[in-house]
């Protein structure tokens, strides 16, 4: 019967419309969370800037000692990698971008015989690596949406303990940087040892250079050059200061990456859900068109049947 097709189409339109309601709601929620996440990045900025200034001033006092403690090791044998993704999906390429970059990094180190140890943040990471038979030494879940400083401290403790014990030569951080509301990019940077400010990539291993974007970018964006001109007091001496600074600078770096990751996640989710909503609109439009045609066809057929039947009756009477 012709009305059947119409009913099927009507049901499909209703399904698409209710899915659209969900994607629209997710889009709006994500959009409202972007603002809050961005405000937290802004609130964190004075701390980050202050940390960079302090490290730079200590390094300027005794560059040779600093170069020994900071900087990039020549040829790392055991490398730690910390990857930061989200706890949830439906956010476009947000999770997969970081996960793929991490996988490539692990593979690149593997080719040169470098041992890698992986830590992850976000519920989406462990499954991805388990499926690819890449060991995850530790994973942190449940805080990616709204990271607290205490979370950063826990994560920092996990990667710092083996580094301080000498079991790791280098720790890399793979996460999404919130460059602006319009731009977020996946970025690999050196977490430990703390990169020497301003000098950039002194003494880079050739294996890392082979990877695009895998070179250690100095944390510091160059502001007014060098340390404070003239004499600087240190309490205690620069070397002990650097030692106590290191854990705090690492926590600060991880916290900043978590905050930027959260903001990037919501931005990616908002964009993905807006696209899904648009697709649903188009689908409803097309389905409605097909349904109307089907209804017209059904009506036309019915009229033809009635007309045909009436004609037959009239002819039967005339005979």
């Amino acid at each position: 019967m012709a009305g059947g097709q119409e009913r099927v189409l009507r049901r499909r339109i209703r399904t698409v419309q209710s899915t659209r309601k969900i994607t629209k709601a997710m889009e709006l929620i994500a959009a409202s969370r972007i603002v809050r996440a961005q405000a937290r990045i802004a609130a964190n900025r004075p701390f980050r800037d202050g940390m960079v200034r302090i490290v730079r001033q200590v390094v300027a006092e005794d560059p040779t000692m600093a170069a020994k403690m900071l900087g990039t090791p020549e040829s790392p044998q055991r490398v730690g990698i910390l990857a930061i993704v989200g706890d949830r999906g439906l956010a476009g390429s947000y999770n997969s971008g970081v996960l793929r970059t991490t996988e490539r990094l692990v593979a690149a180190y593997g080719r040169t015989g470098t041992e890698t140890h992986l830590w992850t943040v976000g519920k989406k990471a462990p499954g991805y690596f388990r499926y690819r038979r890449i060991d995850v030494r530790g994973s942190f879940v449940g805080m990616a949406d709204r990271p607290e400083f205490a979370d950063a401290r826990d994560i920092a403790a996990a990667v710092m303990t083996p580094f301080l014990a000498g079991d790791l030569d280098l720790v890399q951080l793979v996460s999404t940087r919130f460059v602006s509301a319009g731009t977020q990019r996946v970025d690999v940077r050196q977490l430990l040892p703390i990169p020497l400010p301003d000098t950039g990539e002194a003494g880079e291993g050739a294996d890392i250079d082979a990877l695009p974007g895998a070179t250690a970018t100095a944390t510091a964006t160059a502001t007014a050059g060098g340390g404070a001109g003239g004499f600087t007091e240190f309490e205690p001496d620069p070397e002990s200061l650097l030692e106590t600074l290191m854990p705090q600078a690492t926590e600060a770096e991880i916290f900043a990456a978590l905050l930027e990751g959260a903001a990037s996640f919501f931005t990616a989710q908002q964009r993905a859900m807006a696209a899904a909503t648009d697709n649903a609109d188009e689908l409803v439009r097309n389905l409605t068109r097909v349904m109307n045609r089907a209804r017209q066809d059904a009506i036309t057929t019915e009229i033809m049947e009635i007309v045909g039947g009436a004609e037959a009756l009239r002819q039967a009477k005339e005979v």
Binding site: F149, A224, T232
Partner: protein
Amino acid sequence: MPDGVFGVEVVTPEEALVAGPATAVMLRTSTGEMTVLDGHTALVGDVVPGLVRVEQPEGTTLRLAVHGGFIQVDTRPGAADDLVETGEGGPLAGMSTRVTLLAGVAERAEDIDVERARRAQEAGSQLVSDLQAGRGAAGDLGDEGPGSDLVQAERALARAELRLSVAAESA
């Protein structure tokens, strides 16, 4: 900028607790008590957990519980421009002192939740003594890392005690 006034900021990863002009900052580093006044030489130091006082030009004193961190005194020209208004001319024109205090955890005295700190202190001292007893029995000395339960419990207890003492002094 008026004589003796300089810029100070006390920041945590979550927010800037203080940002503005001050006439003196009093704190403790690992080498002892210190007071920073305008014109202090450039300095980088660690700050041990304790009370930090910031005296403001209007005569008020801000009191903060700072649970360890770092201090930087920056004396480069223009260092404190975003915190203090620099006056034109005068002997101090173009000179500025910026004191930055970085702390992982810190709070203003008036923001301290005394009730909560008291509960945390009780729970914390209980936990510390339990852990110490447990470790003594097991004779296990290998677990001294920064992530060990005992170290964490002791830190939490120290934070609760500092909050209580800062809140009590400021009441």
